[in-house]
């Protein structure tokens, strides 16, 4: 029998001219994310630089955008952690300048937000099986992912997480302070509840972090030899499945809490009091 050799077929991808053949509304997630994040960043920037309507003296409500309030311009009761920053700084330096940059860093390096902004701002890619639209696409070999500066700094997430956890303690202190009645004693108002809901969800976001999951037990090779850390890891893992939800919900609660405190502080309406 004569043996014949068949040439291997030439190797090339299917040359399909359409950019994507997806027929669903794949663009809605990146578009919505882009609009929501942009709106939030504008609101947070304006509010944190405003320098007013951040403290309700009567009920000790302090908005999270000014916590801890460390500027000499802060009212004495709002500054439990000291006032050591001069008050004649340029307008763009926020009163909470020791916390806001780290909170921004925490969210920017967060694994959930990375997915969200790589998809909606970088368009790398905007949706699955939709071509990457970043400028590097046009130059072969330019895509470097998170291997080079500045994106290599995403690896600092664990440090931002530690600082964010410390700031969450400060936010908890603010929420405890918000149990302040009109006569100076114990009191509860709608603002107290809003501050508490916000801080609980902030803890949810901070503790569900992937770096936290790694630190608690994810880094271990053997769970069975470390039962306590395994238990911690399982609890954090449960929260971690909802990390993205916490990330988005806390954007909403932060803005709502700030808006409520701002409106009460401004005198637009008075706080709904439940007790004292």
């Amino acid at each position: 029998m004569t043996q014949t050799t068949v040439d291997a077929p030439a190797k090339d991808r299917a040359r399909i001219p359409a950019r994507t053949l997806r027929t669903d509304r794949w663009w809605s997630y990146p578009l919505t994310t882009f609009i929501v994040f942009t709106a939030w960043v504008i609101y947070a920037t304006v509010r944190s630089m405003m320098g007013s309507s951040f403290w309700v003296e009567k009920y000790h409500y302090l908005t999270p955008f000014y916590s801890p309030c460390v500027s000499k311009a802060c009212p004495a009761d709002a500054a439990d952690f000291g006032r050591f920053v001069p008050d004649h700084l340029p307008f763009f330096i926020p009163y909470a300048l020791i916390s806001l940059p780290f909170l921004l860093g925490f969210r920017l390096t967060c694994y959930y937000y990375r997915k969200a902004y790589y998809r909606s701002f970088w368009l790398t890619p905007s949706a699955c099986a939709v071509p990457d639209k970043s400028p590097v696409r046009k130059t072969p070999g330019r895509y470097s992912g998170e291997t080079r500066f500045p994106l290599i700094l995403q690896n600092a997430h664990r440090y931002f997480w530690v600082i964010a956890a410390l700031i969450s303690i400060v936010n908890t202190w603010d929420a405890i302070n918000a149990f302040h009645g009109e006569d100076g004693g114990f009191g509860i108002g709608l603002g107290t509840i809003i501050l508490w809901v916000n801080v609980i969800l902030l803890w949810g976001y901070t503790l569900s972090c992937h770096s936290c999951r790694h630190v608690m037990g994810g880094r271990l090779k053997s769970f069975s030899k470390h039962p306590v850390r395994y238990w911690l890891w399982t609890q954090i893992s449960r929260l971690n499945t909802r990390h993205g939800q916490f990330a988005l919900i806390t954007l909403g609660t932060l803005a709502l809490t700030d808006a409520y405190v701002a409106l009460v502080a401004h005198g637009s309406f008075s706080d709904l009091r439940l007790f004292n």
Binding site: P9, C128, A129, G145, L151, R158
Partner: protein, 256 residues
């Protein structure tokens, strides 16, 4: 009740080809692969398609249906409207052999580069593994190697030149599985970054989105592996600890 569905199927080889239109019968309970088989049996007897189990377990019939990476045998026709045109194309990331059949040998080449499990001095029969440790890697063992994750990952899909130094989510998951194995004595963190391209992953989670086995590839393999790599390469405190002798660093394993 059956109906006539409009199908567009990519036909061609060596990259050259076109989307061809077909009208084909669809019956209740059928999946896309059934319709492709009906096409083979009627209008297009020379249509090439790779398939095997028809149960979502062999990972052979990976394709892109209406632009989404899916298994043809697990995509029900009832998810499409009767007047909708269903477009079936081969996986874009891999070279086409013919029609819907792609050459996925890239994946096997990458698989060979991963150093095998190394139990160290443990003799056969000596090692006992607890259920909690088994469970962790069991999730990754559900992989059916359909390569939809590697197909959808934009690192190689949109930047083909990265194929050389990026293994794709499927094999980074394999590295993570071995790295998390309680009996494995190797340190795969350096090669995960340098040779298998973990740093190229920008965690957009498309691998998780398309996985037919619903493995949480990003959350349970890639991100934990990224965190481990940070501990080895980027954490200044760990670096300082290793310099003053508090943290012990073993030797890194070279790639196979």
């Amino acid at each position: 009740m059956g109906y006539k569905a409009k199908f567009r199927v990519w036909r061609g080889d060596a990259g050259e080809g076109e989307l061809k239109d077909y009208t084909v019968e669809v019956n209740e309970g059928e999946v896309v692969l059934d319709v492709i088989h009906r096409l083979q049996a009627t209008e297009a007897p020379d249509l090439a398609v790779r398939w095997n189990c028809k149960a979502g377990k062999c990972g052979s019939c990976s394709a892109e249906i209406n632009g989404r990476p899916r298994l043809m045998c697990m995509t029900r026709m009832s998810t499409f409207a009767e007047d909708e045109t269903v477009t079936v194309t081969p996986m874009r990331t891999f070279p086409v052999i013919r029609d819907l059949v792609t050459d996925v040998s890239y994946n096997y080449e990458k698989a060979r580069e991963i150093p095998a499990f190394d139990g160290g001095d443990v003799k056969p029969g000596e090692f006992r593994m607890q259920q909690v440790d088994v469970e962790r890697s069991q999730e990754f063992r559900k992989c059916i190697e359909c390569f939809l994750c590697n197909n959808t990952c934009h690192v190689i899909r949109d930047h083909e030149e990265n194929k050389e130094h990026f293994s794709g989510p499927r094999f980074l998951m394999r590295v993570a599985e071995l790295e998390m194995h309680p009996a494995d004595v190797q340190d795969r963190r350096q090669i995960a970054q340098d040779d298998f391209g973990l740093g190229y992953c920008n965690i957009t989670k498309c691998c998780t989105e398309v996985c037919p086995e619903h493995i949480k590839i990003t959350d349970n393999a890639l991100i934990p592996m990224k965190e481990r790599v940070v501990g080895r390469r980027y954490d200044p405190l760990v670096w300082l600890g290793s310099k003053i002798g508090v943290v012990k660093r073993g030797k890194s394993t070279p790639k196979a």
